[in-house]
């Protein structure tokens, strides 16, 4: 594997997750390497979000192990888990901004909880983050209900980046954005990934994102990762679902 020399920041082994009688993930294994943008694709209901939510600890697993920064989260104590949680940021699909707080307070929320900083520094850093995700200072005192879909995603990204995490999980970051907005968001993710040295785990359906920003793509089908590799591997794959997905009608249009 091309990344064999790199450090795997997330290492999932033989993971099984299910609800009642349904098995969603079945002995899934996946590595995410430091500094890469991994695109994670799969059919609707295949369990992409389930994997993401299991890694970040929102869903229980049935068996298997998840290691993040070399720490087995299943074995880790409360304190170690908390320390790890500070090192990742999550962008939820709907933004999940706190509706009773302003944009500025939303971004400052994790900083206030975890760090003991002066108000001046909190304000400056929050505004800096907002500008880094392409917003202007005048949205800082708005409430989430007053924002457009694209702005909500950007604010949510600024909040995910509040503590300068090393890993960012993005759940369908470009869904619900127009192609121009989605393209801008892709560029933003690329820029931030370069400047901040982020590792990005991106669940997405957006073929353009997969083509333009992802270093590596992992395909989820039948509860496990069936193919992973750069876009060229995807295009060459003979797996029927992968073939349909990357070489279907819509793809050709997207690839131009």
């Amino acid at each position: 594997m091309a990344h064999a020399g790199n450090e795997a920041v997330i290492r999932v082994r033989d993971l099984a997750v299910g609800f009642d009688a349904v098995t969603v993930l079945d002995r899934l294994s996946l590595d995410v390497f430091r500094g890469e943008i991994l695109g994670f694709v799969g059919g609707s209901g295949a369990g992409k979000s389930v994997l993401m939510r299991t890694i970040i600890g929102l869903l229980p697993r049935r068996s298997g192990s998840i290691e993040v920064f070399g720490l087995n989260l299943g074995m880790a104590g409360e304190k170690e888990r908390r320390a790890t949680e500070r090192r990742w940021g999550i962008l939820f699909q709907q933004g999940a901004l706190f509706s009773s707080l302003t944009v500025r307070q939303n971004v400052q929320f994790p900083m206030r909880e975890y760090l003991d900083l002066s108000d001046r520094l909190l304000d400056e850093v929050a505004l800096a983050k907002l500008e880094m995700v392409g917003l202007t200072a005048d949205v800082a005192d708005k409430f989430p209900a007053e924002l457009s879909g694209g702005m909500t995603k950007r604010v949510a990204l600024a909040r995910a980046l509040a503590l300068d995490p090393e890993i960012v999980f993005l759940d369908e970051p470009t869904s619900g954005l127009d192609p121009i907005g989605a393209g801008a968001f892709d560029d933003l993710i690329r820029t931030l990934q370069r400047t901040l040295g982020l590792t990005v785990f991106m669940v997405t359906h957006d073929l353009d994102s997969l083509h333009t920003v992802c270093d590596r793509i992992a395909v989820l089908a039948d509860g496990r990762v069936v193919v992973d590799g750069p876009i060229a591997t995807m295009l060459a794959s003979e797996h029927s679902w992968v073939k349909q997905y990357f070489r279907g009608k819509r793809t050709r249009a997207a690839a131009g």
Partner: protein
């Protein structure tokens, strides 16, 4: 774990040299800020400052911003500050923060204290008037919707009414029975305890009969229904509003009032008299039980005394109020529900307001009814 960040100063000739080292990261932001503040307050001989970042082993947005803040502070004082020895992979980050926070932050809006008080009073008055207008609107719209149903009975949403009747009527029966029963017990016990001193225990039966049938029965049920069903109406409609379900209904050509409000109101208006009747009976039963056990008034005496003390008028006065109270609770609950804005906080505020306002209006209306019945001599 990580190396503590430092910022050492050295004066070399005309030039101030600063050497940054360690981890300039979020974990150390608290220690870094005073370092940077102290450095930017340094007395300056020449016009040149050099920051050597060669020994910085980690840098993130917090550290980068503090460096940028330092650069800007020197710059404002007319000094020329340069950065040297920065590892290549951090260059982009420093460039990024160089472009942010250029505009001065928007000043927090200032308020005068008296102005704020006056403004709040004004808003409260306006809101109260607005509430009454909105409730009147809702009453009007509901009446129109009811007329439409009368003209075209086929459009009546029977299933929906039955569903809500089950929820606000049938399912409320146990708790209403229990609380009314206990209330009857307490009134009887207190009555006997105090009336005993005058040897007038038997009048307790009069008191229980009149109080429960005329006032307490219906008021208690109203308060419970406002808390139990009114709040759930508000929360339901409010969350439907938040999730654009109400907009969806409207675009399909359905009136919100016809589909959502009218069935709920009808269910409440039907359920309330029944619940009031059941509640009153439970309270009388509880009162009778305590009279027997605690006051030594046997059920035979209690019933014959009750027959003498109360007339059908007392019963009717209580019952006639029930549908009006139901209408008030339903109207307030639905009006508040449709006022909900996008946030979770707004949903909470309106649910609270729904209960508080309907309880207040119910008690005020009860007072008006009391005056009315006194005037017509009932």
């Amino acid at each position: 774990m990580t190396i503590r960040p430092t910022l050492d100063e050295r004066l070399s000739g005309e030039r101030l040299e600063l050497a940054a080292a360690g981890a300039w990261t979020v974990e150390h932001a608290r220690e870094l800020e005073p370092l940077v503040e102290a450095a930017s307050g340094q007395r300056l001989k020449g016009r040149f400052v050099r920051i050597d970042m060669g020994s910085v082993d980690r840098l993130d947005t917090f550290g980068a911003w503090l460096i940028e803040r330092l650069l800007r502070a020197w710059h404002r004082r007319g000094a020329q500050a340069t950065i040297e020895g920065l590892p290549d992979h951090y260059r982009g980050l420093l460039k990024e923060v160089h472009n942010v926070n250029l505009a001065p932050p928007p000043p927090p809006p200032s308020y005068s204290r008296i102005g704020t008080v006056l403004e709040n009073v004004g808003r409260a008055v306006g809101n109260t008037a607005g509430d009454l207008v909105r409730i009147a609107h809702m009453l009007g719209e509901t009446t129109v919707a009811l007329m439409r149903v009368l003209v075209r009975p086929a459009s009546f949403r029977l299933t929906s009414v039955v569903h809500h009747l089950d929820r606000v009527g049938l399912r409320a029966v146990p708790i209403i029975l229990l609380i009314s029963f206990l209330l009857g017990c307490i009134i009887a016990q207190q009555g006997i305890f105090h009336f005993r001193r005058f040897g007038a225990e038997l009048y307790v039966v009069d008191m229980i009969g009149i109080l429960v049938l005329r006032e307490i029965g219906v008021i208690m049920v109203c308060i419970m229904i406002a808390g139990r069903s009114g709040s759930s109406y508000t929360a339901e409609l409010g969350s439907m509003k938040m999730r654009e379900e109400i907009d969806a209904l409207r675009t399909m050509g359905f009136g919100t009032v016809d589909v959502l409000v009218l069935p709920r109101l009808i269910a409440l208006v039907i359920a309330m008299p029944i619940l009031t009747f059941l509640g009153s009976m439970a309270a009388l039963y509880g009162g009778g039980l305590v009279c027997w056990i605690y006051g030594g008034i046997t059920p035979e005496i209690f019933i014959s005394r009750l027959k003498d003390a109360i007339s059908i008028d007392h019963f009717m006065v209580g019952m006639i109020k029930a549908p009006f109270m139901a209408l008030i609770i339903g109207l307030v609950a639905c009006t508040e529900g449709l006022q909900v804005k996008g946030s979770a906080e707004s949903l909470g505020l309106h649910t609270t307001a729904s209960v508080v306002k309907s309880v207040f209006l119910v008690i005020m209306t009860d007072g008006l009814f009391a005056m009315f019945f006194a005037a017509i001599g009932k």
